[in-house]
Amino acid sequence: MLYRTAGQFKTSYQSDQALFPVRQDAFLLIFFLLLAYVVFPLTASEFTFKALLVPVLIYSLASLGLNILTGYAGQLSLGTAGFMGVGAYACYKITTIFPELNFVIALALSGFFSAAIGVAFGLPSLRIKGFYLAIATLAAQFFLVWLFEKWSWLYNDNASGAIEVRTMDMFGLTVTGPTASPVVQYYFVLVAVTVVFWLSINLTRGRYGRMWKAVRDMDIAAELVGINLMRAKLTAFAVSSYIVGIAGALMVFLWKGAAEPNLFDIPLSFQILFIAIIGGLGSILGNFLGAILIVALPVIINLIPGMLGLSVNVATLEHINVMIIGALIVTFLIVEPHGLARFWAVIREKLVIWPFPH
C-alpha cells in the first residue's frame, strides 16, 4: 500500500533508466538526505558527531571502495587499510609540502597516490584469482604498514613516528585541527561522501560497472565477449583504491586528528571487509547499513546502561558488547546471507505487493 508501484508509468527511456524508477525510493532517499543534511546538524551533540555520525560516514566510504573491487569486480582484497594509509600519508605529505594548497585539492590528489599503489598491487590479479589474490593483497597490507613505520620521510622524521594534523582553513572556516567545529567537519565529510557515492552509483550502472560485473560473474565469458580483462580489473583497483585512499585521509584529517602507523594494520582491513560483507557485497546501500551495524551499534550499546542509570563494570560491558555484536552478525548472516542490503530488498519486495501477495 505504502509502496504501491502500480500507476507509475514510464513514458520515456530517460525516465525508465532513472536512478530511482520507483517514486517511493526517491522519497526515502530525500528523507534520509534531509535527516543527514538538516536534522542531524541541528540536533546532534559533539559526541554524536565525533563518535557516531562522522565515523559511520567514513567507514561506509571505505567500504564503498572495497565493495567496488570485491562486490562489483569480484577481486577479493585484504589490503584496504594499507590503501587507506597511503591516502592518509599522501594527504599529510601534500599538506605539509604545499601548506597553501586548498584542502579539498590535497584530498582529491591524495586519492591518486593510493590509486597508483592499488593498481601496482592489483597487477597480480591478472594472473591469480580468489584466495590467492587475497594473499597477494595481504602482502600489500603488511608491506605498506611496514613502510609507514620505517620510512621516516613519510612522517617528516617526527620523533613519535606519528602524523599530526595542523589547522587548515577553507573559505574562512576551520576544517581540520583541534579548533575545527564538529558541525563543519561533519558537513565536509558528508558532502565528500555524497559526491563520491553519487559518482559511484553512476559509475557502477555505466559501462565500467557492467564490465566489472561481467568479469566478476565469469571472467572467461567476459573475455570472449570482448571485454579487456586487464583494463576491467585494473580500473576496478584504481577506482576502489582512490575511494579507499580518500576515506583514509578523511579518517585522519577530519576525525582522529593524529595517526600512528599501526592504525592502518590488518584489523582495520578486516573491519571494512566485514562492513562490506554484512552490508551486502555488490550493493551501495549495504555500505551504510554495514557501517551502522559494525561502527555505530557498539557505541550505542555502550551508552545504554548509562542512560538507564545502571552501573556496569566497563570491562563486562565491553565483553557483552562484543557478544551482542557477534550474535547480531551471525543472526543477520543466517537470516540473509547476502547481507543487510538484500534483507532490505526482500522487505521492500514484500511491501510492494502487500497486502495482496500472489
Partner: protein, 438 residues
C-alpha cells in the same frame, strides 16, 4: 532501511540525551574519568594499574568522604587500547571531566591538540611525550613524576655507576615496541651514545611479534650487547623475559623501563628471572596507606581486585601513586581558588603547582613509596627520579639508592622537540592566555 531508520532515531535520541545530561551534573562532585583498558592485548598490565587508581579514590571517598568534603566520582571508559575507542571515550566524558587520563600514547596524540580548545588537562604519569615537560609549550599536559627520557637517563646512569664515559666502547641494545611509545627513548639514547662514545643498537619488536621474539633474541645473541634495555608493554614483556631465559641471556645485563617491571611477567619465570632490573618511580612495600585501602575498599568488598595479595604488586601500588598525584593536584586547586568542586581549568593550575615533598608523603602514609617532586610552570614533569628494582625470584625489591636523571643533557632536547611539535601542529597557542604564577 527499517534498521537504518531505527538506529538513526536512536542516534538522534542519544544526541538529545547527551545534550541534556551535561547540565545535570551535581555541583558538589568532582568527575574524574579514566580511559582504561581492562580488555584487549594490554589488559594484563592495565588491570592492576587501574585497580590501584580506582581503589585510592574509593578509599578517600570512604575514609574522608572525598577530598575536603567533595566526593570524587571515578569513572572508567573502556578503550581496549584502541584509538577509535579513545575518541569515543574522550568525547563521552569531556562534558564533565576535569582531567583526561589517556593511558595510551596513541590516544594522547589525538587528545593533546584538543586540550588547548577544550581546556581539560591531560595527566599522563610516567607516560606520554617526554617533551610534555616543557610547560611553556604544553600548558595543559602533565607527565609527573618522571618522563621516558628521564627513565633512559636514569638507566644509563645506573649501569655506568653515574659516569657515562665508562660506557665508552660498550654496546647497548634497546629492545623496544615498534610503536610511538617504544620509540620514545631513541632520540635521547642516540644523543647520549654520540656524546659518550657507546654503540646504540635499537631492536624493534613489531606489535605482531610481541609474543614470538626469537628473531630479535637471535640478533641479541649475534650482536652480544653489553646491556639490553627494554621498552616493552603488555605481552611483549613476558615474551622478552621468557626468551631471555631461554637463550640464557645474563639477567643482570637486562634492564627495563617502569612499564616492563610487572610482577606477573616475572612470576612466570620465577627464579630464572633473578637479577632482572627495572627502573621505577615507586617502590613496592608495606605503607600505611595500604592499610587504609585494605580496610575501606578491599575488605569492604568495593575493590575490583580478585585477590587481596595483589595489593603488594608494583603496578597496583603505582596505580595508587597515580591517583595520589591527581588528588594532590585537586587539593592544591581547592586551596588556591578557595573552592570545593574544582573545574578543569583550576585543576590545571593545581597540577602545575604540585609540591609533593617528604612531609606531604609522610602525611599521606606514602613516605618512601614514590620520589618527592614538585612541578612548576616550565616543568610539568617534576623529574623526581626513581629507584632500580630487582626481581629476587619472587618479588621486586629496591636495589639501588635514589637515582636522578641527567637533566642538563635532557633539557635542550626537550625544548627542541616541544618546539617541533608546536610547529607541526601550527597554529599552536602560546602561554600568553595562561600567565605563569596565577
Amino acid at each position: 532501511m527499517k534498521m537504518n531508520g531505527i538506529s538513526k532515531t536512536l542516534a538522534a535520541g542519544i544526541a538529545g540525551a547527551v545534550l541534556l545530561a551535561v547540565p545535570l551534573a551535581a555541583a558538589e562532585e568532582i568527575y574524574v574519568p579514566n580511559l582504561s583498558y581492562r580488555t584487549g592485548p594490554f589488559a594484563a598490565t592495565g588491570i592492576p594499574l587501574m585497580n590501584g587508581q580506582r581503589d585510592y579514590i574509593e578509599m578517600l571517598n570512604a575514609r574522608d568522604g572525598g577530598v575536603n568534603g567533595v566526593k570524587i566520582v571515578y569513572d572508567e571508559c573502556e578503550t581496549g587500547y584502541n584509538t577509535n575507542k579513545g575518541v569515543e571515550c574522550y568525547e563521552k566524558t569531556k562534558g564533565k571531566a576535569i582531567v583526561t587520563q589517556p593511558w595510551s600514547t596513541g590516544i594522547t596524540l589525538q587528545v593533546l591538540p584538543r586540550t588547548n580548545v577544550d581546556k581539560i588537562p591531560i595527566l599522563a604519569p610516567g607516560y606520554g611525550f617526554s617533551p610534555m615537560s616543557d610547560g611553556d609549550v604544553f600548558a595543559w599536559a602533565y607527565n609527573p613524576p618522571s618522563s621516558y627520557w628521564d627513565a633512559a637517563s636514569m638507566i644509563l646512569n645506573h649501569i655506568s655507576d653515574g659516569d657515562l664515559d665508562k660506557l665508552k666502547g660498550q654496546k647497548i641494545a634497546l629492545l623496544h615496541l615498534d610503536h610511538p611509545y617504544g620509540k620514545e627513548p631513541i632520540p635521547l639514547i642516540e644523543a647520549m651514545a654520540e656524546k659518550h662514545g657507546f654503540t646504540f643498537l635499537p631492536i624493534p619488536v613489531g606489535l605482531k611479534e610481541m609474543q614470538n621474539q626469537s628473531a630479535q633474541w637471535l640478533q641479541v645473541r649475534r650482536e652480544k650487547p653489553d646491556y639490553v634495555v627494554m621498552w616493552g608493554w603488555g605481552a611483549m614483556n613476558a615474551g622478552a623475559i621468557t626468551e631471555a631465559v631461554k637463550t640464557r641471556f645474563p639477567m643482570d645485563k637486562f634492564v627495563g623501563v617502569w612499564w616492563s617491571g610487572y610482577d606477573g611477567d616475572l612470576k612466570a619465570v620465577g627464579d630464572k628471572g633473578k637479577g632482572y632490573r627495572s627502573i621505577s618511580w615507586n617502590v613496592p612495600g608495606d605503607y600505611p596507606v595500604l592499610a587504609d585501602v585494605k580496610k575501606h575498599v578491599v575488605d569492604a568488598g568495593n575493590s575490583l581486585l580478585e585477590n587481596a595479595d595483589d595489593m603488594n604488586t608494583v603496578f597496583y601500588q603505582r596505580g595508587l601513586v597515580i591517583s595520589m598525584i591527581l588528588v594532590e593536584g585537586i587539593k592544591e586547586a581547592q586551596e588556591h581558588f578557595d573552592t570545593k568542586a574544582v573545574t578543569a581549568e583550576q585543576l590545571r593550575w593545581g597540577l602545575e603547582n604540585l609540591n609533593i615533598d617528604e612531609a606531604r608523603l609522610e602525611a599521606l602514609g606514602m613516605a618512601g613509596m614514590t620520589a618527592p617532586f614538585a612541578t612548576a610552570c616550565d616543568n610539568h614533569t617534576g623529574h623526581g627520579g626513581g629507584w632500580m628494582l630487582e626481581w629476587d625470584g619472587t618479588q621486586f625489591v629496591k636495589a639501588s639508592e635514589h637515582i636522578m636523571p641527567d637533566r642538563a643533557a635532557i633539557e635542550p632536547l626537550e625544548k627542541a622537540k616541544a618546539e617541533e611539535y608546536a610547529k607541526n601542529n601550527a597554529p599552536w597557542p602560546d602561554r600568553s592566555a595562561l600567565p605563569c604564577g596565577n
